[in-house]
């Protein structure tokens, strides 16, 4: 008896002495513990929900939603399902986030560079912008844009109008909607073909420059390649394009393309707020590049603008991109404040209205977490890929 036990102990000891095996053992034990905990939790949740007569499961996805949504990028009606409402909300979140990220980046870079400008007025203004926008709560800024700016626009009957084509009122911005007739396919094809040629030209010019050191001016040719073929096709096909004008009908404008004020208010607030942070990141990134780099560029005879563009910014990007990623993630998550002004984003449509009408809090909160996690992970993955491309390559 004791001999066997002894042997076992000895064997056990020698196994545990192996650090790699030990690590694997500990990690798998941890994994098993977490998995069984999760399993237990899910089991308990299900029995407890059942004992409280609260509906559970994911069957609600194909039940009729019954409510309307004010902005839908895909066709949606009151008789559509909760599943479709889910997609509508998700697309609304992606729309405001994507446009928000692009605009915030542009504005943030402009303000960041302006803050370093040798023009006192410009740099002071940029400084004030950053300090004010960064220090006011975002929710307040959203409400400000919604109620104090867009809310004070006149009603549909007294709309501000631009050339009688574009209208601005407290129901949003209305622009003519392009209607594509037969033959627009050919125009689109011409656009693609022209652009493809322009790209090929750019690649060839770059190869030439790298090989011979000669810079070839391609600007005008590129412009012509992009514009002339579509224009010619457009005329040949008999101008296959007309516009549907927004018109005042009853209480509101009908027809045309419309951007709702809830979207605009949320977008403005997200862009201006996030741009303040991006500006600081850009400024820090540029300041991180040793002064010697600029001086070296100057002594090579590069002008200020070129120095910034060719020498400083490419190096600064390596410092800028990682914190920039987290600003993008913040913007996406902050877009869920949409509920305050009734913009039907994902959080609002799904974790708000759908949750309330179906009462299935647990499933819906879990899915909501998973969706935001997925959006964030994809964004970081893209940014990490971009970051690796920028990384210093040792030669």
């Amino acid at each position: 008896m004791s001999e066997i036990a002894d042997a076992g102990r000895r064997k056990g000891r020698s196994l545990l002495d192996n650090p790699r095996l030990r690590a694997i053992l500990v990690q798998s034990l941890l994994l098993i513990a977490i998995a069984s905990l999760a399993w237990m939790l899910i089991g308990n949740v299900r029995t407890n929900l059942a004992s409280r007569n609260i509906a559970s499961g994911f069957g609600f996805f194909d039940v009729t939603a019954g409510f309307a949504i004010s902005q839908t990028l895909i066709p949606y009606e009151e008789s559509s399902t909760y599943g479709r409402a889910f997609v509508v909300g998700l697309l609304n979140t992606l729309l405001v986030s994507a446009i928000g990220i692009v605009l915030a980046t542009v504005l943030g870079f402009a303000v960041g560079v302006a803050r370093l400008s040798s023009n006192m007025l410009l740099s002071r203004l940029a400084g004030a912008y950053v300090e004010i926008l960064r220090n006011l709560p975002l929710l307040f800024q959203i409400l400000f844009w919604y109620l104090a700016v867009l809310g004070t626009l006149p009603g549909p009957r007294q709309s501000l109008s631009l050339a009688g084509e574009i209208f601005l009122n407290n129901r949003g911005v209305f622009v003519p909607k392009p209607l594509f007739a037969a033959g627009s396919g050919a125009v689109a094809l011409a656009v693609v073909a022209g652009s493809a040629l322009a790209i090929i030209l750019a690649i060839w010019a770059r190869r030439r420059r790298l090989a011979t050191g000669k810079i070839i001016a391609t600007g005008w040719i590129t412009l012509a390649l992009v514009l002339v073929p579509p224009a010619v096709t457009f005329v040949i096909m008999g101008a296959p394009l007309s516009f549907e004008r927004p018109e005042l009908k009853g209480f509101n404008f009908d027809g045309g393309l419309r951007v709702v004020p809830e979207f605009l208010a949320l977008l403005f607030a997200l862009v201006t707020y996030t741009a303040a942070y991006i500006a600081e990141i850009v400024r820090a990134g540029i300041l991180a590049i040793p002064r010697g780099q600029t001086e070296a560029a100057y002594s090579l005879g590069l002008r200020r603008g070129l120095t910034l563009r060719l020498v400083v910014v490419p190096q600064a990007m390596r410092v800028i991109v990682p914190p920039l990623t987290s600003q993008y993630l913040n913007l996406i998550k902050n877009s869920s404040l949409a509920a305050a002004i009734g913009y039907p984003d994902f959080f609002y449509v799904f974790a708000g209205t759908t949750l309330n009408q179906t009462g299935q809090a647990i499933e819906i909160i879990a899915i909501t977490m998973a969706v935001y996690l997925a959006i964030s992970l994809v964004t970081s993955a893209l940014m990490n890929w971009y970051n690796r491309r920028l990384a210093l390559r040792e030669r």
Binding site: L41, N44, V45, T47, N48, L49, S51, R52, N53, I54, A55, G66, F67, A68, I69, S70, E77, E78, S79, L147, G151, T152, G155, N170, R171, K249, G250, F251, N252, D254, P261, E262, A339, A340, I341, G342, P344, Y348, A351, G352, T353, L355, N356, Q357, T358, G359, A361, I362, I365
Partner: protein
């Protein structure tokens, strides 16, 4: 974010094994020493804090009546203001003992949410409010209108039904709280504000110029508003149900907060049973036998609370209408105490 907290609360509560039997709500309330009651975030006449910060209103009085029946003290209530969206989660998670917040009784809420409606404290219906200068006289003229409403309500579903069944175009903007909804309507973002008519009357008082707005004549839905409890505690369900019935029965029998002391001497057997001088009806509910005396003495009968909060004796001045007693041509009808 309250919603998230609520959801996490249920998650936390619900993740533990089911073997633990939950204590009866009545016992929990007695041990706590107060009733936790879910109300609105402020609808004058139904549930709103007055200038001294005391909650008042029809829905509030129901909670006070329950507290009076249990503790003989109508102040032993704590109120949780809840938005339409968060109210059911708060009740499911046990954050509140009873939900008394202009909540419409519907089949799905009564079943799949694991909740029970105990009765109807106010028979309501949905209506529309518009600015007078829009020159609209009927809801049928609202085609192409922008409509403001609150999310998580029967309202947003009814309005969708109304417009879509008549093939009328419309745009809906749904907000999370009543205040945001009213602000957006007041700023002109919407042509129409829609909710239960009683709440239209109440919210109208909050507008910048109440006189500039009219409520259209059409009532587009049935909105029986009533108190709600969790399923699974029959005793508590009965207590909340019979608290309201006691007030309606008291009105029918002419028992008021002023005459209730004398009425205990009444020879009328119906009144004797209501006021506990005959039979043991209170005990059957798990309450003292004078439960109804306590309710009527501290709070009043149904007619009194209606009048004081939303009726002729209040700022709202709403007509009793459907909420008259059945014997006077209305729908308010309580089963007998016997």
């Amino acid at each position: 974010m309250k919603r998230l907290v609520c959801a996490l609360l249920i998650f936390a509560g619900i993740g533990v094994p089911a073997s633990r039997v939950e204590a009866a709500v009545l016992d929990q309330v007695k041990t706590k020493g107060f009733l936790q009651c879910g109300v609105s975030q402020g609808i004058p006449g139904f549930s709103a804090p007055d200038d001294k910060g005391n909650w008042t209103g029809l829905d509030v009085d129901l909670c006070r009546a329950i507290a009076a029946a249990i503790f003989n003290d109508p102040t032993k209530v704590k109120f949780s203001p809840l938005s339409a969206k968060d109210r059911f989660t708060a009740l499911q998670s046990g954050e509140i003992d009873v939900l008394s917040r202009n909540t419409t009784w519907t089949l799905s809420r009564d079943t799949s949410l694991g909740l029970n409606f105990t009765g109807v404290i106010y028979y309501d219906g949905q209506g529309f409010m518009v600015r007078q200068d829009k020159k609209v006289n009927s809801a049928l003229e609202l085609s192409s209108a922008s409509v403001c409403t609150q999310t998580g309500t029967t309202t947003e579903l009814n309005v969708a039904d109304f417009f879509r069944s008549r093939k009328m175009k419309y745009e809906i903007i749904a907000f999370a709280t009543a205040d945001e909804t009213v602000k957006a309507y007041d700023s002109g973002r919407c042509d129409v504000f829609t909710t239960d008519v009683s709440q239209l009357n109440a919210e109208k008082l909050k507008l910048a110029k109440p006189a500039d707005h009219i409520i259209l004549p059409e009532i587009i839905s049935k909105e029986p508003l009533g108190p709600v409890v969790r399923q699974g505690d029959e005793q508590w369900f009965d207590i909340v149900k019979w608290t309201l019935y006691a007030m309606i029965n008291a009105e029918e029998m002419g028992v008021t907060s002023k005459n209730v002391a004398e009425m205990t001497k009444s020879p009328n057997p119906e009144i004797k049973r209501l006021l506990g001088t005959e039979g043991k009806f209170g005990e059957a509910l798990g309450l003292p036998n004078d439960w109804a005396v306590r309710i009527v003495k501290h709070i009043g009968n149904y007619g009194e609370i209606f009048d004081r909060n939303v009726g002729a004796g209040s700022k709202l001045g709403i007509d009793r209408g459907l909420n008259r007693l059945w014997s006077k041509g209305g729908l308010q009808y309580a089963p007998p105490i016997r």
